[in-house]
Symmetry: C2
Subunit: 384 residues, 2 copies
């Protein structure tokens, strides 16, 4: 393998695929990135893989001799990121376990391993494929990822559940305490499959992989549709010259639709930023005690008040105007953390609606306009 | 005590003085900031103090009733920083251990302690005073602070040694492995003492206090001289409406002047950025082994080469043009960490000189032009 590419191409693609390299690899070669020099297409392909999440990226290179090799991801990254602008030549000296990096400033020899020792990235050859508009994907992820469970024992709850339906996409995430749902515009048809029927399906994808997809779309300048392929065990996202593979999360995702009440007896419309600001200030004191905030609903004065009483530390109270159509309850309590996270994730909308029935039944937040998001939280029951 | 001030004034001054509040206070009241409302001068004074370092700041406020009170620094800070723009009223309800904060958005009650429980900040009434131009102070600190020892048992080595001389200021710091010295322009005379003789003196000031001074000067827009007062045990810096007090470090500072060789048999002039870039790349591999970098001096080709050989990992070599007047040695070795820190701290100059005698005697780096800085490092002795 012998090739020449630019420092900036190598650096950006290397830092991208390195995000899939595990910090504690189960096998030494997984601490490396795989380099495949393709003489026919004159490009270099880099791969990072932790056996669950894989990232692959392709970019132009002048390939003199094709071949493959692996190099320690961190060391390779650390050297390349510090090299000056200009061309870098990589040569694995055929059969030696050493690659030579030559740049305008100097020459480095780095010990690696043969490409044949690196595991194959999973392929999906006979699965479904669907094309997702990047903006819909971003909105769906921003509105749900935060509500996934960080607890690895929680299985499907560590991922986002994606439903592809005829009339659009539905993203959902819940950690058992709150539930976030985003519905986005219809699935983008592929150029060639415009007339084909869209197959309905559901899949649960690990949050870790989706956070990387969110980053990759954020860095990508194009607005090209993202292809999502999947079969029994794997999903693959394709974005231009980059792809990300991930195992699917097995198991039945909770039937979250049943949790949403059919109707509500109370509705409060309030300015999102003003409400969030007040909750964040109240949270400073709530944090000193049990993280619980009380919300009083005054339909006569069309005003809501947030309050906290942290004995021995202090207390606080904020009030703001709201449009209230309500009879009861007059008081309801929340965990500030769940409220803050939901209010931050509700995108763009300046106003939100808070709908509820009793002080002990699910509360639903929706933005008024903008992205179609639903955020459900359970109130905290107060003992008197 | 009852007063009204703006959120932005309170917020910026509070975060400044909070930097002196200890995270693990030896006495409960030290976790608080002291507020003194001065009705006569219509201002609010805030103080944070850990018994060694103290920061005090003064700003305009509408004071209805003068008095003093203390509030928990972190909680107070967290609430104030989240309050909206506009006025904040603080009222300690005379005798109650609670202060009420009222802003446009809400009302908070925070438990505090009386001002009389807060220790007095040290005063220097009959000591020396000297006026330092802020730019000279900044240059001196940037060029030396990094070379102080972080090891609290190292006493005077945890501080910067400041010599005030007739012809200027000298800053010095050493941790026993390297030594940094900066000489700056002459001491700024005070408006009133222009004709007075400048008293020569020396003082060692804890790095922690000087890092705060560096920050305070950085945030200050004015170019007013900084007053430095000191007596037997304390130093006080005065910057406009702010002041910082610190204990001095006791003990004899090493006679570092003796460490600097009188003359050198070898001199190498090299581009600072190019040299630093190469050292940082070589450091990636040196970091895998013993942090040692070899430097070969080729006076025939007027070139220096940096190299590292980390067995089992890899090796690297960088060469660059240099102006060399040298016979011997041909090879010298350094700890990359000390080299990188020194090269980063040498300010503004595009070229540096490296002066040395043998491969085992002190090496001195100087910028060619700009700030007068001297950086001395001991080479590493290589066993063959």
């Amino acid at each position: 393998m012998k090739l020449t590419c630019t420092q900036s191409d190598l650096n950006s693609n290397l830092s991208l695929v390195s995000r899939a390299v595990p910090s504690r690899p189960t096998h030494p070669v997984l601490a490396n990135v795989l380099l495949i020099a393709d003489a026919e297409n004159q490009c270099l392909e880099l791969t990072g893989f932790d056996l669950s999440l894989g990232i692959r990226s392709n970019f132009p290179a002048v390939v003199e001799t094709g071949g493959s090799f692996t190099l320690p991801a961190k060391l390779f990254n650390d050297i390349v990121s510090r090299l000056p602008d200009g061309n870098i030549t990589i040569d694995d000296d055929e059969g030696e376990a050493i690659a030579t990096l030559t740049s305008t400033s100097g020459r480095y020899e780095v010990r690696g391993m043969g490409g044949e020792e690196y595991p194959e990235l999973p392929k999906v050859e006979e699965g479904e494929v669907i094309y997702l508009p990047p903006e819909a994907l971003i909105n769906g992820l921003k509105g749900t990822l935060f509500a996934t469970s960080p607890d690895e024992t929680k299985q499907v709850l560590t991922g986002v559940h994606l439903k592809v339906q005829k009339d659009g996409l539905e993203f959902a995430a819940t950690d058992g305490h709150r539930l976030a749902i985003v519905k986005t515009e219809s699935v983008a048809p592929d150029g060639e499959s415009e007339v084909e029927e869209i197959e309905e399906f559901e899949v649960t994808i690990p949050a870790k992989a989706l956070r990387e997809i969110e980053r990759m779309i954020g860095m990508d300048q194009s607005s090209e549709a993202v292809a999502l392929r999947f079969d029994e065990g794997q999903v693959i996202f394709e974005l231009g010259e980059q792809c990300l593979t991930s195992r699917k999360l097995d198991g039945q995702y909770p039937a979250y639709g049943q949790l949403l009440p059919d109707k509500f007896t109370n509705q409060i419309n309030v300015d999102r930023k003003q409400f969030l600001g007040a909750v964040e200030r109240i949270a400073v004191l709530a944090d000193q005690k049990n993280n619980i905030l009380k919300c009083s609903i005054d339909s006569v004065n069309q005003e809501i008040s947030l309050s906290v009483d942290a004995q021995d530390v202090g207390s606080g109270r904020e009030s703001m105007a709201a449009q209230i159509s309500s009879d009861e309850p007059e008081e309801i309590a929340f965990n500030v953390k769940y409220l803050i996270e939901g209010l931050k994730a509700i995108p763009s909308a300046s106003e939100i609606s808070i709908q509820l029935n009793t002080a002990t039944s699910p509360v639903v937040l929706n933005p008024l306009g903008g992205v179609k998001m639903t955020y459900l939280i359970m109130p905290v029951q107060l003992r008197n």
